[in-house]
Every structure is written in C-alpha cells, then in structure tokens.
C-alpha cells in the first residue's frame, strides 16, 4: 500500500515536471510578432496622412500603405501556421519598409507643401500686379468687351485661388491660379499685341493731325480731330483747340473700317458733306462726312483683289458725327456719337467742307502703356 502511494506520487511529480518542462519550452519557442514595428509603421502612415502626403507625395504614401498591407497579410498568413513554426521576419521587414516610406513621404510633403505654398503666393502676387497693370493701362483704352470679360474671369478665379491659399488648400489653389493665369496673361498679351498692332499707323495719325491743324490755321477756319483711344472729339479754330467733347464709336472701333457692317469707325482725312437736323437724322443732329474717300476706295479695292475680304463685300457709307451719345460705351455702327449739347455746339460752328480727321490717338504707345 505504502509502495503504491509512493509510486503514484512519483508518477504525478514526473508527469508534472515533464509537462512544466514542455510548457516552458513551448512558451519560449513561440516567436514574438513585430508588434512594435507594426505600430510604428501605422503611426508613421497616420502622420504622413495628416500632413497631406496623400496629395503632395501620393506615390511614396501609396508605397508605404502597400508595405503596411503586405506586413498585415504576412502576419495573418503566419498566424495560420502551427504556433512553433511561425516566422515573422517578412512582417518585420515590410513594417520597417512601411515606416521608412511613410517618413520619406512626410519629409517630402513638408518640403513640397512649403514650395507649393510659396509658389502659389508668388503667382497670386504676380497676377495681382498684372491685373493692376491691365486696369491702369487698358481701362483707359476701350478694348473689346471680350478681352475685358476674359480679364474679369481671371480676376474672379484669382480670388478663388486666394481663398484656397487662405484655407491651406495649395493644390486646388494652384489649379485655380493656373486657370486665372491663362485668362489674365492671355487678355493682357492679346490687348498689348492688339494695341501695338494698332499703333503701326501712329506716324500717319500724326501726319494727318498736323495737316488738319495747319489747314485750320492757314484758312482761319474750323477743323475737327477725333481721337479714338481717349474717346474725344476736338474742335480747332485757326489752329487752336477750342473745344474737346467726349465721343463714342463703333463697337469694333479699334482699327480702320474695312467693309460695310464691320462696326468699325473709319480713320482718315474727311470733310463734312451734309448737315442734318429737324428729323432728317434719328440722332438729334448729324454731320455727314465723305466716307469712303479716294484713299478708302483704293484700300478697299486692294483688300478685295488680295482676297483679304470676300469679293462680294461692300465698303459701306453714311458715316456721321451725330448726337445721342453719352451712353457709356462704343455702340454705333461706325459713326462718332456726341452728347446732344456738344453736338449742338459743334453743329452750330462747323459748315459743309470743314475738315474732319479721325485717328487712333495723338499720344504715343509708350505713354499709353505707362497708363498716362
């Protein structure tokens, strides 16, 4: 009986020792997963995301995410194996790569965001300066509405870019500023080019003006000089400027009249051929001029023969200096419109045969571009 108890106790102790030994071995042989590395990778990715790496370093951020996902997949795969046969080396490797890529993404994002912020600020400032220049130069030059609309569209887009900048949305801000740039630069360049081309006739304008004023002086008579760019009509007497009236022109005023219906006001040296009033004109009072003159006819024939205008084009006519002006825009079909009181003055002082010279401007392109 005693021997049997001793044997049982011995057996129990033996089994316990064996089991405890096995358990100790088991616990010590189970590999540890790289929890710390994975956690670090997760934090690095979250940090990169919070710094907007998704936007500024998309490729690196995607790579970091991809390595993290690979680490998780590897971890899951290993966890499916028998506990003693697991190997977390790949999980560790992917985690470290994810951390590295996420840190690179964050670093690059900080630099890129700073660059983008600075470049956006520069572009906003530059375009605001261009806008100011446009307003200074071209507001005084009545340009076609289309160009002004383009400029205004750019101005509004620039405001949207400024809002994006204030909100720290530099990517969308850059998209807006790029659109604004297209409109503003385009309208500025087109306006500048159009004006420069228009000024090719400047020497002719000077010559015509000089000759007209000299004629007024020589004949001790009145002469009219109309300037399109400042939008004025001067009345000279004996070579001296007596009156300056505000004037409005055809919708397509910049340039010489080419054909009927082009909405342009002709440029050249003309004379008053007829004075119209008391219902013979619908524009209060009118001074008909001899458009087309010989030079206009010659230029028209050349344009038709060179094919620059269709052969069935007509030169047009019935160009007048008339009343009903002061509407605040260029609206006529090609005539010069004055306010009615100014028209009354002009009508009273001039007679048939009075010289009428219509030009772009007496001030130089440099002066116009300087906003003088």
């Amino acid at each position: 009986m005693k021997r049997s108890v001793v044997k049982k106790v011995f057996l129990l102790v033996f089994v316990f020792v064996i089991l405890a030994g096995l358990a100790w071995l088991f616990v010590n042989l189970v590999p540890d997963p790289p929890v710390k590395e994975l956690e670090e990778a997760r934090i690095a990715i979250a940090d990169a995301r919070s710094k907007n790496s998704v936007i500024y370093s998309a490729k690196l951020f995607k790579e970091a995410r991809s390595f993290y996902d690979s680490a998780m997949i590897s971890w899951k795969t290993e966890n499916r194996r028998f506990i003693l046969f697991r190997d977390y080396e790949r999980v560790r490797k992917f985690s470290l790569l994810a951390s590295k890529k996420a840190a690179e993404a964050t670093k690059r994002t900080i630099a890129k965001e700073k660059d983008m912020k600075e470049s956006l600020k520069r572009d906003i400032d530059r375009l605001n300066s261009e806008l100011k220049a446009f307003e200074k130069i071209f507001t005084s030059v009545p340009l076609p509405m289309e160009m002004k609309k383009k400029n205004a569209r750019g101005k509004l887009l620039l405001k949207e870019a400024e809002i994006a900048y204030d909100k720290g949305q530099y990517v969308s801000g850059n998209v807006k500023v790029s659109e604004a740039n297209d409109y503003i630069t385009d309208s500025y360049e087109v306006a500048r080019e159009k004006l420069t081309n228009y000024y090719r006739n400047f020497s002719r304008w000077q010559e015509w003006t000089r000759a007209t004023i000299n004629e007024s002086k020589a004949n001790n008579s009145y002469a009219i000089v109309v300037e399109k760019i400042p939008g004025v009509c001067h009345l000279y007497y004996n070579g001296v400027k007596k009156y300056t009236f505000e004037a409005e022109f055809g919708k397509n005023w910049m340039g010489d009249k080419v054909s009927k219906g082009d909405g342009a006001t002709p440029e050249g040296r003309y004379r008053v051929t007829k004075k119209l009033q008391n219902g013979s004109t619908k524009y209060h009072k009118a001074l008909m001029i001899n458009y087309p003159n010989e030079q206009d006819l010659e230029e028209f024939r050349q344009r038709v023969s060179s094919g620059s205008i269709p052969s069935n084009s007509k030169i047009g006519g019935l160009i007048e200096i008339h009343g009903d002006g002061g509407k605040g825009g260029n609206w006529t079909e090609g005539c010069v419109a004055l306010r009615n009181p100014d028209m009354d003055t002009l009508f009273r002082l001039v007679s048939n045969g009075t010289p009428v010279t219509i030009i772009g401007s007496t001030i130089t392109l440099t002066q116009v571009m300087a906003g003088e």
């Binding site: 971890w75 966890n79 009545p142 002004k148 205004a152 405001k159 809002i163």
Partner: protein
C-alpha cells in the same frame, strides 16, 4: 489505471483550453467595416474628413490588436470586441454628424446663392445709375465685364448646387464672387459719393 487515464485527459483539456481560448470577432469586424462604409456613403469623408480618417485609423489599430492576439498562445479578443463595438457606434455618430454637416453647408450655400444674387442685382443697379463721364466710361465697361464674370460664376455655383456633388465648392465660389461684387459695390459707391459732393 483509471486515474492515469483521467490525468492525461485533464492535461490535454487544460492545454487545449489554454491555447484555443476565444474566437476572432468576425461579426464585430464586419459590422464596424459596414458602419465605416455607411459613413462614407453619406460623404463623411467630404464633410467631416478628420473624423472619417480617425475611424479608419481606429479600425487599423483594432486589426493590429486582433492579429497580435492571434499570435499569442493564450488568446483573448474581449478588448478588441469592445473596441469594435465602440467603433461601430462612433461610425454611426460620424455618419449622423456628416448628414447634419452636409445639410448645414447646403443651407449656407443656398442662403449664399440668394444673397450673392441680390448683391449682383444691386451692383448692376449701381452701374446703371453711375455717372457716365469721359473717364468713367471705360471704368464702367471694365466693371460690366467683371459683373458678367461674377454672373457666370454664380451660374456655375448654382449648377454645382443643383447637382449636389460638393456644397463646399459652391460655398468657395460664392465667397469669391461676394468679395468681387463687394469690391465693385464699394468702388461704385465711392464714385457716386464723389459726384454728390
């Protein structure tokens, strides 16, 4: 002999119990993911981006916890299950808040559209009443161009609003246009005040 047999059975049962305690809370994972998806459906990622990102981050942390438990000899998913429950509830709250935020932004955009249209009409009225001197003529033409551009942007904003894609964009367009129109209004009022003096 009988005692020995029970001892072996007890040992095996104890080991089995220690190594296989707890099951992966798959239902909880699926429910939390579904709740996050529902939050995305109501555009929480647009209207509450910070909160939506936090939901996804929490889910990542929980998935890491679950995998860490799977790696252990003695598994327990109690904490993960509790976190999943909390995350599901949080996703629900975010979804509700996103719906409210969207409604708020929509109402703001709608009111903004009404006020910017009224401002547009006011500026148009001021332009019509503005004095037409020699210098004012060109300036007014420039202003008309700006009013046209503002009107085009308001139309764009209205189209975006009607489509209901992103009311935040609508709000930004309204803010820009309002600024532009307020500048024009101030300029016109200054000119008119000068004329009165």
């Amino acid at each position: 002999m009988k005692n020995r047999f029970f001892l072996v059975i007890a040992t095996v049962a104890a080991v089995a119990l220690m190594t296989s305690c707890g099951k992966v809370p798959q239902a909880g994972i699926d429910a939390a993911n579904a709740a996050i998806d529902s939050a995305k459906v109501v555009e929480a990622d647009i209207y509450l981006p910070g909160d939506f990102t936090a939901l996804n981050d929490s889910m990542t942390v929980i998935m890491q916890d679950i995998e860490a438990q799977k790696s252990k000899l003695f598994k327990s998913y109690k904490t993960a299950s509790a976190k999943l429950e909390a995350l599901k509830a949080q996703a629900g709250t975010v979804a509700t808040s996103a719906v409210a935020k969207k409604a708020e932004v929509k109402a703001e955009a709608e009111a903004g559209l009404v006020s910017v249209k009224a401002l547009l009409d006011e500026v148009k009225g001021l332009i019509a009443k503005a004095p037409r001197g020699k210098d004012a003529k060109a300036v007014l033409e420039q202003m008309k161009g700006e009013v046209d551009a503002a009107e085009a942007t308001i139309t764009e904003a209205q189209t975006l609003f009607d489509a209901g894609t992103n009311y935040m964009q609508v709000a930004d367009k309204i803010t820009a246009t309002t600024k532009q129109l307020n500048d024009l209004k101030a300029e016109l009022e200054e000119v008119m005040a000068k004329v009165k003096r």
